[in-house]
């Protein structure tokens, strides 16, 4: 109703202005055109000016290099010298003639699909615990968040080397119990496990987001449920969890993307080799080796694009499935 009314009014105004303009050809009124110009300025140009720094950044620093790497993925670019076109060769070799590449895919998938669910479960459990009105909550929150701030850094990966090495902290603890330890990072059966633990340990960032979401669940839902006489477990399953699902989806997608691209821990813990016997050869680590150690930047670019498409697919599938389990309160 109000919309039609507004349109009618503007129509009348426009019509009357047009009539006036036709009636007074010799003395056109400057006001409408100036106001028109300033309206265009305000609505069309000004926003882009404000957006300009981001747009420049996006096109020059993100999109430009991305498209360039797409081009490079069809070449034999070596970083030294000029690229020459090889068509789909890089992509074909990836899937038909590079067992090490398939190894890296396998290692990465295990890492992603084991560490992310564990990490989110851990984060949610801690968030529920911290949400129970603990005294000194800000301190606990900060302490648990700390690993996330430094978790992806070189310092922590070096620390991990020290902890899980042959003479490391873990083995010293085991020794106290009379167990003869081994080098956990030097054994192909356990090396990836230590990296998964490292990722789970950095649960702080999803935890803080869970905590914020828990605080947002309206209290009246629990009050109403209490009146209906449900217990704590039922409240969790039927109120807390459904209300949290949008945040679970958000955390899930961000952590999946992050885990697919993990690089630093494997690089530092394995000394850049992805060893022992390629057991920690993350996708990005192999990409790095190909591009920078083996002078095959074209091939590495193809790997980057396959990863990009892979992450996009996983994300799309997640969004598609989300309609079956994510509850939006809008």
């Amino acid at each position: 109703m109000s919309l039609t009314h507004a349109r009618d009014t503007s129509g009348v105004e426009a019509g009357s202005e047009a009539r006036q303009g036709r009636g007074a050809v010799t003395a056109p009124r400057p006001r409408p055109s100036r106001s028109l110009r300033s309206a265009v300025w305000k609505d069309r140009v000004a926003p882009y000016l404000f957006l300009a720094p981001w747009l420049v950044g996006f096109f020059v620093i993100t999109l430009g290099p991305m498209l360039y790497s797409l081009y490079l993925s069809f070449t034999n670019f070596s970083l030294l010298g000029d690229p020459s076109w090889v068509g789909l060769d890089n992509y074909i070799k990836l899937f038909t003639n590079d067992p090490k590449y398939l190894d890296s895919v396998r290692v990465t998938l295990v890492y992603v699909f084991v560490s992310v669910p564990l990490q989110l479960a851990f984060a949610l459990a801690l968030a529920l615990l911290l949400n129970r009105g603990l005294r000194g909550l800000p301190i606990y929150r900060s302490v648990y968040y700390l690993p996330s701030l430094i978790g992806a850094s070189v310092a922590v990966a070096v620390l991990w080397r020290q902890m899980f090495g042959r003479g490391g902290l873990i083995n010293q603890i085991l020794e106290a119990f009379g167990i003869q330890g081994q080098s956990w990072i030097g054994n192909p059966d356990t090396a990836l496990g230590t990296l998964i633990i490292l990722n789970v340990w950095t649960f702080g960032s999803p935890m803080v987001i869970f905590l914020a979401a828990l605080r947002q669940i309206p209290g009246y839902l629990y009050e109403a449920a209490a009146v209906d006489g449900i217990n704590r477990r039922q409240a969790f399953v039927h109120i807390t969890l459904p209300m949290l699902t949008p945040v679970v989806l958000f955390n899930l997608i961000l952590q999946l993307i992050g885990a697919f691209q993990a690089f630093t821990p494997a690089f530092v813990v394995s000394g850049g080799t992805g060893g022992p016997v390629n057991s920690t050869l993350f996708y990005t680590l192999y990409l790095y080796q190909k591009g920078f150690a083996n002078f095959q930047m074209g091939y590495a670019s193809a790997m980057a694009w396959v990863l990009f498409i892979g992450i996009a697919l996983v994300t799309a599938i997640n969004f598609w499935f989300s309609k079956y389990w994510v509850h939006y309160d809008d």
Binding site: L72, P188, A304
Partner: protein, 428 residues
């Protein structure tokens, strides 16, 4: 108030958009050669002591050539090659670049290195005092692509104190591979397994290089692999036997000290390992126990050792001032003034005329390493020609197959056969 569906989706999509981006800026500025003041850039890797002496030597060069300013870019070895190649891709490479042997041909075969012969002809670079085999080693397809910045050689070190504590005699000079195996097994047995006699070096392609030379073969020549599969099987079997006898480190320990086996000796995990002679002084400085240094174990009379370029100086073909860059190389490699400052941090000078200047005031420890290098200068094999393109990938393959044997995933024979095939395809 709850955040709606679209906000989450937008946020997640944003994370995805930034997901993968390889950034390679490419721009090609080409200023004309200028008269008067010239600025050149040099890149090297190393530790603090190397940075100190190199900077001091370059200061001296600038004092002698007031019109030339030298911009220095230096840091650790980690990420060094990435930086150089990225600068090349951006058409922004340094003028003078310190490079290592394994990648020399990767650069030269793609036409990225200036032919130093042009500077020699222009009188800006002298080769007086340089052994012919070192010049040949750096000549690829007729062009002089690099000059050796410090020569070194393979060496073996033994922890004297720990060996004495365990009552095991360190092998005498002229020792064989069997002597080493006996020593290592005795150490591990005497220590009750707490200390290993030697680090497992089956993944050490540089060790295998000597092994192959002792059998009249080469690891790689200009055409590719230059050894027989039997030689490789013997080498890997030697280390498999040492693991079985307990003399060599177990695979998990070997993996921990993969890149720097001498760290296992510093940590007291093993009592002997391989290193390059120019690394000896630095390693000795980081541990209290005295380290004995010797040549590699050998078979019969061929030591299989040669004067090996520890690193090289090159001039980029992208350089706008290649002659001035060559002048800097000439100063660093051939002047007594520079070599007095540089000392032997990178190994001994190749130019015999400045060895005295570089070794003027070395300490006792360094002198022990120098003696090894000098003994090889007198009684060694000629240096191998630069490795072919793809050599870096072959080195990685060598390590991978050796590891698969260590962890029992492949037999020696299978690994050797597969390595020969895959390495050939990397080089093909």
């Amino acid at each position: 108030m709850f955040i709606g569906r679209s906000a989450y989706q937008a946020a997640a999509a944003f994370g995805l958009a930034g997901a993968v981006a390889l950034s390679l800026a490419a721009c090609a500025p080409s200023a004309p050669v200028e008269e008067g003041p010239v600025e050149i850039r040099i890149s090297w890797w190393g530790g603090d002591s190397r940075h100190e002496v190199t900077n001091a030597a370059i200061d001296e060069f600038e004092a002698e050539h007031p019109n030339i300013t030298v911009v220095r870019d230096f840091g650790g070895f980690e990420g060094y090659l990435d930086k150089i190649t990225t600068q090349y891709a951006g058409k922004n490479s340094p003028d003078v670049i310190q490079l290592y042997n394994d990648v020399l041909r990767e650069f030269s075969s793609r036409g990225q290195l200036f032919d130093l012969n042009e500077a020699v002809e222009a009188g800006n670079l002298s080769l007086e005092g340089w052994p012919q085999d070192v010049i040949d080693m750096n000549t690829i397809d007729g062009s002089l692509n690099a000059l050796t910045f410090g020569v070194s050689t393979h060496a073996f070190v033994f922890d004297e104190v720990k060996s004495a504590e365990l009552g095991v005699e360190i092998p005498e000079p002229g020792y064989t591979w069997d002597d080493l195996a006996d020593y290592a097994t005795a150490i591990t047995a005497a220590s009750g397994g707490a200390t290993y006699g030697v680090t497992d070096l089956s993944q050490g392609f540089q060790v295998f290089e000597v092994w192959a030379k002792q059998r009249g073969e080469e690891f790689m020549d200009a055409d590719g692999l230059a050894f027989s599969q039997d030689t490789l099987e013997d080498f890997w079997q030697y280390w498999a036997d040492l693991r079985a006898s307990g003399g060599a480190t177990t695979p998990d320990v070997t993996t921990e000290y993969f890149g720097t086996p001498y760290d296992a000796v510093i940590a007291g995990v093993a009592t002997s390992t391989f290193m390059f002679a120019n690394q000896y002084a630095g390693v000795q400085a980081s541990m209290p126990n005295t380290l004995a240094i010797d040549r590699m174990p050998s078979e019969a009379d061929d030591p299989g050792q040669y004067l090996r370029a520890a690193m090289n100086l090159t001039v980029s073909s992208q350089s706008e001032h290649p002659q001035e860059a060559a002048m800097l190389i000439d100063f660093l490699l051939n002047s007594e003034a520079a070599n007095e400052i540089l000392g032997i941090d990178r190994g001994l000078p190749s130019n015999g005329n400045v060895v005295a200047a570089a070794t003027g005031n070395v300490d006792e420890i360094t002198a022990k390493a120098n003696a090894i290098i000098e003994s090889v200068r007198e009684n060694g094999s000629p240096a191998p020609v630069p490795a072919p393109t793809g050599a870096a990938a072959v080195n990685t393959l060598f390590q991978e197959f050796a590891q698969q044997i260590q962890f029992g995933q492949k037999s020696v024979a299978d690994a050797a056969a597969e390595f020969m095939a895959q390495a050939a395809s990397e080089l093909g």
